[in-house]
């Protein structure tokens, strides 16, 4: 039976009245509600709740990093295996300074370098909410890294190089909305964790903030206002619709971003989504010249493959079917300099996210079994350069690499 969420929360809050571990201030409904919203904004569940598990925040989900695998910790109020025995200071420090209990250093897979923008009040609100969820006894050994990365002390040096602690400070001269957007994007939403390039040590390349980075076989695209590969052609309303529903005429959220939309942004307030759009639209893009057209023979082969395999859903001219197949003409993802996402989707297919506002979750089938490397290269090059699109040609060896083969 469906109940309004507020009622469920009220019930949870009432239950925790009797719990011995609950501190006085964490009984406050508005505090818990604020914390609940901040855990959604911060997308805590994406890592701390196992996929398809009904044990919220019990940890154990593997997080792949370039240095090895980490397991997300149990953050339920269980005293032995969760964070029930932690003091408020320990919790706030973990969130905003990356120091675990008894001073141990966390790995930045936990985005403390973003959560540091939270105020102490914000952090305590999250604490209050996490105290209200059912405790789950689930021992997680977070550190699965190989030597030498398993030495937590190494994070002292990493922090010195790449971590700037400090609560969010509004930029003067910018609107309240802009500053709210800046707080969300640079703070709890930790957009840069995926969308900002990393150096070889996993540190953030701050000079290229939000300009796109690869992860899990996808490209987390440029989300600056760059006209060629970023959000330059997106209106603020389209950004809001994308974050809220997962779908616009030119984009469908899937892969890691689909998960973000499902768990986080689709459940945020419209006001916050508009603030994010305002802030992102104000991030300058990089200037790069448009590229020359690809060789004519590749385009011709690609056009033929497109007509046979793609046009049924994407139309003969790459136009959108609302809510179903995103348009390819004018798509920033299709024209991204790095074709990782496009090649990934053609080879493996993908299912777009389902949200309450757009429940269809249409999927693109896999073509990896049907098309060889040359054919995938030809058709992707074609869609990247047809109907006014312009982007570098995709090479067969890029496709081979995406299949996990050495070309």
């Amino acid at each position: 039976m469906r109940r309004p969420l507020a009622l469920v929360l009220a019930a949870v809050a009432l239950c925790s009245c009797n719990a011995t571990h609950a501190a006085e201030d964490s009984q406050d409904f508005s505090q818990i509600e604020k914390g609940r919203y901040l855990t959604i904004v911060s997308d805590c569940a994406a890592c701390h709740t196992q996929k398809d598990s009904d044990q919220a925040f019990a940890g154990g989900r593997p997080i792949a990093t370039p240095f090895g695998t980490l397991l997300a910790s149990n953050v339920t109020p269980d005293r032995d295996t969760g964070i029930g025995a932690w003091t408020d200071d320990e919790f706030v420090n973990a969130l905003t300074k990356g120091t675990g209990r008894h001073g141990a250093h966390l790995y930045p897979a936990m985005p403390y370098n973003y959560l540091t923008k939270l105020s102490r009040d914000d952090a305590l609100a999250i604490r209050a909410y996490l105290k209200s969820v059912p405790p789950v006894s689930h021992q997680v050994t977070a550190n699965q890294l190989p030597f030498p990365f398993d030495i937590r002390l190494s994070m002292v040096a990493w922090n010195a190089l790449f971590f700037t602690p400090g609560t969010f400070r509004p930029t003067e001269g910018k609107s309240d909305e802009w500053n709210r957007g800046a707080f969300l994007v640079e703070g709890p939403m930790h957009c840069g964790a995926c969308h900002t390039p990393k150096n070889f040590l996993g540190g953030t390349e701050t000079s290229k903030a939000l300009q796109g980075d690869k992860l899990e076989g996808w490209l987390a695209p440029n989300i600056t206002n760059d006209f060629q590969r970023g959000l330059g052609h997106w209106s603020p309303d389209e950004i809001v619709a994308y974050l809220k529903t997962g779908h616009t005429a030119l984009a469908a959220a899937s892969g890691p971003m689909g998960e973000e939309v499902a768990l986080s942004s689709s459940r945020m307030t419209d006001g916050d989504l508009h603030a994010i759009a305002t802030y992102l639209k104000d991030q300058p893009g990089q200037e790069q010249p448009l590229l020359a057209a690809p060789p004519a023979n590749v385009t011709k082969a690609g056009a033929a493959i497109y007509a046979d395999e793609c046009s049924a859903c994407h139309g003969p001219k790459g136009t959108s079917v609302p809510g179903l197949s995103p348009g390819l003409a004018g798509s920033s993802s299709v024209q991204s300099t790095d074709p990782t996402t496009l090649v990934h989707v053609v080879l493996q297919g993908t299912r777009s996210v389902a949200t309450d506002a757009a429940p269809t979750a249409p999927a693109m089938p896999s073509f990896g079994w049907l098309l060889d490397d040359d054919q995938v290269a030809a058709v992707t090059t074609y869609v990247r350069n047809a109907w006014g699109n312009a982007a570098p040609a995709v090479a067969a060896k890029d496709v081979a690499r995406a299949r996990g083969r050495n070309p």
Binding site: M1, R2, E309, S311, A312, C313, V321, P322, G323, L324, S325, G349, R351, A354, D356, A357, A358, P359, T360, A361, P362, A363, M364, P365, S366, F367, L370
Partner: protein, 593 residues
């Protein structure tokens, strides 16, 4: 020995169209619902993607999407004097399987029945006199009126985004639509599909002969559509792979493209796939269903208790489960007593193939959809005077050719063509693009008769050791006369299109279980007003077991000259509304009789 599961509010048997509709309605009501489906989960992108779904051999000839006869079959005979034998490969009809049921492979023709179809017996008796009907014809009224069903037809059409041209808006006849249809409260949600050359030519010829042609109402959408549940569909690409196939690009209305995405997000809905219900369990007094027993894919048997049981399987299997569960009394053709298995019927389809001069006509049959077509309704139901003709019933007819698929299309050759060799090859080449072959050009009704019925076979058993269903079915003089008349009228139109040769193929007896006709089986657990000749009341509630509702065409007392899905779905919405507004407030018989 079955293991007992925690009880649910509602158990639904079968997750096709009616199961999906009822699950949506019952979960909206806040009830905890489990659907048990014997087939697999089916999903557009993973099960019939555009890269391989247009595979005629795999889907059309090898029945990829259908139930396997080894899993469940039936036995067949034409009359009481014969011994029935098991069906080992599907022929006269196809049986859907898995999520979406037959709603995955249908052509999506989305017709409403005509108002007087629901009062067939009383209407015909009044107009022609009781003696006009054959003595062994057992047609009867449905117990429901068209105007009661209209809002529910409307609901299903708007769920599906049906493409069509209204012929009767609130009683005002509209140009370009079917002037014989019952009044509809608003236009179709999307405009009619565009029509290919031969379909357009049929309409022109029909118009010249004085008929009023109109586009067939289609669940293959003319344009993109987002339904009231928020689910989006794409425009049809006229690929011609609809019936027998899953639609690869979200253009055909199916449970997958209209309801299931919403249902799957609900915490109070659960689907158990590849689980076959073997019995509806009854309380010791036999007056209450306590739930169902089912077997999962590993052979494990489970009991699922529930407050409300909704039987949503295909028509044949609804009847079989009722018989196997001892609900109602089995029909006996000798005495005419009993309700379960009574008034089984099918449909009387026929066609006339037109061969045209290929130097003047290139119809390009590849451009089509499952429910494309231009039709006329002058010879359906009682839209024409049957008095001088000596039969009742009728059907719509039209150029409804739905494909140019090679294996089916290549064999349509002028009578007298050799079946192989150089002349066959030449004739195939000459005729392929210039033949009008609608397959089911005439979509005739089929009345019900005393000796057309379903019961349990005395000999043959299924894999669980349960008796197979036995079908006793033949075509009667009334239907053969009707088919001859309608097919002749149809051939006249094909001729008027400019065909150089027309080959009429009226339906001939005996009923042939091996040749495809339609999958529109009906009856066997019919609705009505009298518990002595119906299994269900007008809300599809079992007279005998009030917490059991039986959906589907098994409730039709006889078949009309239209495709049944829209009526099946409208009845499901109608029944769901009765459950929500009446039954749940006061669980018990909704009608005393």
């Amino acid at each position: 020995m079955s293991r007992k599961l925690p009880p649910k509010d509602v158990v639904i048997i079968g997750l096709g169209w009616t199961g999906s509709i009822l699950a949506q309605e019952m979960t909206d009501q806040g009830l905890d619902v489990v659907a048990i489906e014997r087939g697999p989960w089916r999903d557009t992108a993973s099960d019939f993607p555009p890269s391989y779904s247009p595979d005629e051999l795999r889907y059309r000839l090898r029945h990829e999407l259908f139930l396997r006869p080894a899993q469940a079959s039936l036995t067949f005979r034409n009359n009481l004097d014969q011994t029935a034998l098991p069906v080992r490969t599907w022929g006269a009809f196809m049986l859907g399987n898995g999520a979406g049921g037959a709603g995955v492979h249908w052509n999506a023709e989305t017709w409403r029945f005509a108002p007087n179809d629901f009062q067939m017996k009383s209407h015909l008796t009044q107009r022609y006199g009781a003696k006009f009907l054959p003595e062994d014809m057992t047609i009867q009224d449905w117990g429901i009126r068209y105007d009661e069903l209209e809002p529910h037809y409307d609901r299903f059409e708007y769920l599906c985004g049906t493409s069509g041209t209204a012929g009767n808006l609130n009683g005002t006849i509209q140009d370009g639509g079917n002037p014989f249809e019952g009044p509809r409260s608003r236009p179709y949600p999307t405009p009619a599909q565009k029509q290919p050359f031969s379909h357009t030519l049929f309409a022109e010829a029909a118009r010249k002969l004085g008929y009023k042609p109109f586009p067939q109402p289609s669940g293959n959408l003319s344009q993109a559509y987002t339904n009231p549940l928020g689910v989006s569909m794409g425009p049809c690409t006229y690929c011609g792979f609809c019936e027998w196939f899953g639609c690869a690009n979200y253009s055909k209305a199916t449970p997958q493209t209209t309801i299931l995405p919403v249902l799957l997000r609900k915490p109070n809905f659960e689907a158990r796939m590849e689980c076959e219900v073997t019995r509806i369990n009854l309380a010791p007094d036999g007056k209450r269903a306590t739930g169902v027993t089912y077997v999962d894919s590993s052979g494990e048997e489970w009991e699922q208790p529930a407050e409300l049981v909704l039987l949503c399987a295909f028509q044949l299997f609804n009847v079989q489960l009722l018989l196997l569960s001892g609900i109602g009394s089995p029909y006996d053709p000798k005495t005419g007593q009993g309700q379960i298995g009574r008034n089984f019927s099918h449909q009387t389809v026929s066609t006339a193939t037109g061969f045209f001069d290929n130097t003047k006509f290139n119809f390009n049959p590849f451009i089509a959809s499952g429910s494309i077509g231009m039709c006329i309704d002058e010879f359906n139901g009682d839209n024409f005077d049957h008095g001088p003709l000596g039969f009742v019933g009728g059907g719509y007819m039209g150029q409804v050719q739905s494909n140019g698929r090679p294996i089916e299309t290549a064999v349509q050759l002028p009578p007298g063509t050799p079946a192989w060799g150089a002349k066959w090859k030449q004739a195939t080449k000459d005729n392929y693009l210039s033949t009008v072959y609608a397959g089911t050009g005439v979509h005739g009704s089929c009345a019900s008769y005393r000796t057309n019925y379903l019961d349990l076979d005395p000999t043959w058993k299924d894999r669980f050791g349960r008796p197979l269903l036995r079908m006793t079915m033949d075509l009667h003089e009334n239907e053969l006369k009707m088919s001859a008349f309608l097919t002749n009228k149809y051939a006249e139109i094909i001729k008027a299109m400019g065909a150089s040769q027309v080959a009429p193929q009226p339906r001939k007896g005996p009923y042939d279980i091996t040749k495809y006709q339609t999958s529109h089986l009906c009856g066997g657990a019919v609705m009505g007003t009298d518990p002595s000749n119906s299994a269900l009341n007008k809300y599809l509630q079992s007279w005998d077991v009030p917490n059991l509702f039986v959906m589907g065409a098994s409730a039709f007392p006889q078949n009309a000259g239209y495709n049944p899905t829209n009526t099946v779905a409208a009845l499901a919405y109608w029944s769901a509304a009765a459950i929500r507004t009446q039954y749940l407030k006061n669980p018990g018989r909704l009608i005393d009789a």
